[in-house]
Amino acid sequence: MELTVNGAKTYCYTGGKAFDAAKPTVVMIHGVLNDHSVWILQSRYLAHHGWNVLAVDLPGHGRSAGEAPETVEQAADFITALLDAAGVPRAALVGHSWGSLIALEAAARLKDRVSHLVLVGTAYPMKVSPALLDASLNQPEQALKMINVFSRSTLAAPPSALGPGTWVYGASLALGRRVLRSNSKVNVFHRGFQACDRYANGEQAITQISCPVLFLLGGQDQMTSPKAAQGLISKAREAGKTVQVASLPVGHHQMTEAPEETLFAVRDFLRR
């Protein structure tokens, strides 16, 4: 499905079902160098089980035009504009990695317009090492291999996004290369990492959300270690938010390394 958001063509995968404003909506937000396709299984399931799904390609990524966001705050503004463009009064936000920060910031701004917040593979602060930041700009292929190695925890992933026979290491590399190539003006790899690294409003934002929040973490995640989410979890609890924490025995790409467990955790949380 294509929408015009802030004057730019914006692509949202709807999980194989037509958008229906009468249903509750879930917006799925990808991370750095990813696109909507990282959510294929989860989005397709939700779309066929009562939800509208908008698995978006962020501006300047994949099938979406527009300027790639330079900050988490800009990306959060885009999510607000996306809901407006789609005519969605209220939605659940599910974000992975960088997308989790965008979802968090958007939830803080949208308050009651957000029904549920799911932060998959999150950390705060989400600092990126200077070496990786530099490599993402000057040696993106090398940096892509580095993050792929850090993101994965198994050589034997279960049947995944493309079905049985998917080699998730290779699929992640290919997707990263494709998304990087999709924007000829901006290195969205470096820009996305910079946005993660510079985001400083996480603790404030978590106190401002008006919905329950699920932290869905990877026990073996080397990109956003579960430890690095504990501060945000504590802050949410201190602020009296309804907090649920789930840990899966996988790395940073929960959606492909544990597609079923990720789906069930999100599905069950959205039923609350």
């Binding site: 194989g16 493309l162 049985p164 998917t166």
Partner: protein, 433 residues
């Protein structure tokens, strides 16, 4: 960062796609000999059919043992995923049938396995798919052969049996300029010698019957997707970029940014054409795959010795291996295949057809049969067997003469192989006296 998170080729050959079985603790990959898999509920069944949840339904479409083989091959090739099929020919057919229908056109190398040549030249023509054949080294020829309906470039990493090395970087660049993917048959090289994706190929397939297995016990094939070709940008593949009412109106390129080919190949190709691999076969191929690096190293060292021996024999008029300066692909092989250009090659003896027969019949260790890539050394006379349907002109185009003998060098003691060849050469000489 070598190690568990960033494993090398030899580690992947043993571990990619497989972990100890969570149900039983079995360390080796179990053989899942079952046609079908129980659904947890009606909703689970519907979700599996509708690609909402991952898993197996029916072993024609997917199977856990096959999936290990598929993941492992994708890992070794540097691809995103793979599909195991009944044979190498089934792999080629699956790739073609996924990408095109009647009215389409292929540009292919002249230096192909005879079965592939048959499929393209005769069989597919009957189904409305035409092929233009181009000598693999004729770079201008590849470019000139492109038509508005061209859907695929196709060649072998090293042509069978002349070992013309395909200039994958150059040919793939021409293909990509035209918005067409390059499919490469890497059967004779295996990923240990070359990973075609690293040089620009988009799809790779193997007859897994050969080096991947090594043991010569089963027939199988596999097609691997590099995930690099942009089917949308090409504009030539409505099969992948437009809604397909044969499968939930799915737009495969929207469903998966990098895996559209694999989605359609499995969901349509295996479902409808049905050329699936038996899980038992997948398991046997996995047994071979585990030792692929060790075997390929030995294949290559034995080949070097046999090539050197044959090149020194006065009764041998030509040895067609890129190891030799005299081979037209010598320089390209040095660049693309630094570990060697394979252990299947041909040579000509200075004799007539009867002397050729005498040579083959005098061999004791080399087995006379129609296969290559076995752990045992093999021999065949292409003009009367694998390529017998080809005209003299087509044979010449593939670098084959009536006196050409093809060898597949195995893993025996190299001195024993040389002794066997020495004796057969003497017998051939005598037959002409």
């Amino acid at each position: 960062m070598p190690g568990y998170s960033d494993p090398g080729f030899d580690t992947l050959a043993l571990h990619a796609g497989a972990a100890p079985d969570p149900a039983t603790g079995a360390r080796a990959v179990p053989i899942h000999l079952t046609t079908s898999f129980v659904f947890e509920s009606s909703d689970h069944a519907a979700s599996l059919f509708n690609l909402e949840r991952p898993g197996h339904v029916y072993s024609r479409i997917s199977n856990p043992t096959n999936a290990v083989f598929e993941q492992r091959m994708a890992a070794l090739e540097g691809g995103i995923g793979a599909i195991a099929v009944a044979s190498g020919q089934a792999a080629l057919h699956l790739a073609i049938a996924t990408l095109m229908g009647a009215g389409s056109h292929i540009v292919a190398s002249t230096a192909l396995y005879g079965g592939s040549q048959n499929l393209l030249h005769y069989t597919l023509r009957r189904f409305g798919i035409e092929t233009t054949f181009v000598k693999p080294g004729d770079i201008d020829g590849w470019r000139a052969a492109v038509r508005p309906n061209t859907k695929l470039f196709f060649g072998e990493t090293v042509g069978n049996p002349g070992l013309d090395v395909l200039d994958i970087p150059t040919v793939s660049a021409i293909a990509h300029e035209a918005g067409v993917p390059l499919l490469v048959d890497s059967t004779l090289t295996s990923p240990w010698l070359i990973k075609p994706f690293e040089h620009g190929a988009d799809l790779v397939y193997h007859s897994a019957t050969k080096f991947l297995s090594g043991h010569g016990t089963v027939i199988g094939g596999v097609v691997v997707d590099g995930g690099s070709f942009d089917w949308d940008a090409s504009g030539r593949f409505p099969e992948l970029s437009q809604a397909y009412d044969g499968f939930h109106n799915m737009v495969f390129t929207e469903e998966s940014t990098v895996g559209a080919f694999l989605l359609r190949a499995r969901r349509e190709g295996l479902r409808d054409f049905g050329a699936c691999m038996s899980p038992h076969t997948a398991w046997l191929i996995l047994q071979g795959l585990e030792t692929l690096p060790l075997r390929m190293a030995r294949h290559m060292s034995n080949t070097e010795k046999v090539v050197a021996f044959l090149a020194s024999q006065p009764f041998v008029s030509r040895v067609g291996h890129p190891l030799l300066d005299s081979h037209p692909s010598h320089a390209l092989a040095q660049k693309l295949l630094p570990r060697g250009a394979g252990s299947v090659f041909s040579f000509d003896i200075k004799g007539n057809r009867e002397q050729g027969k005498a040579f083959i019949e005098a061999l004791k260790l080399f087995s006379h049969l129609a296969n290559v890539g076995d752990c045992r050394s093999l021999v065949i006379h292409p003009a009367s067997t694998t390529h017998f349907r080809m005209s003299d002109g087509a044979l010449a185009g593939a670098g084959i003469s009536q006196g050409t003998i093809r060898l597949s060098i195995g893993l025996e003691d190299p001195d024993d192989l040389i002794d066997d060849l020495k004796r057969a050469l003497k017998a051939a000489e005598k037959a002409g006296a």
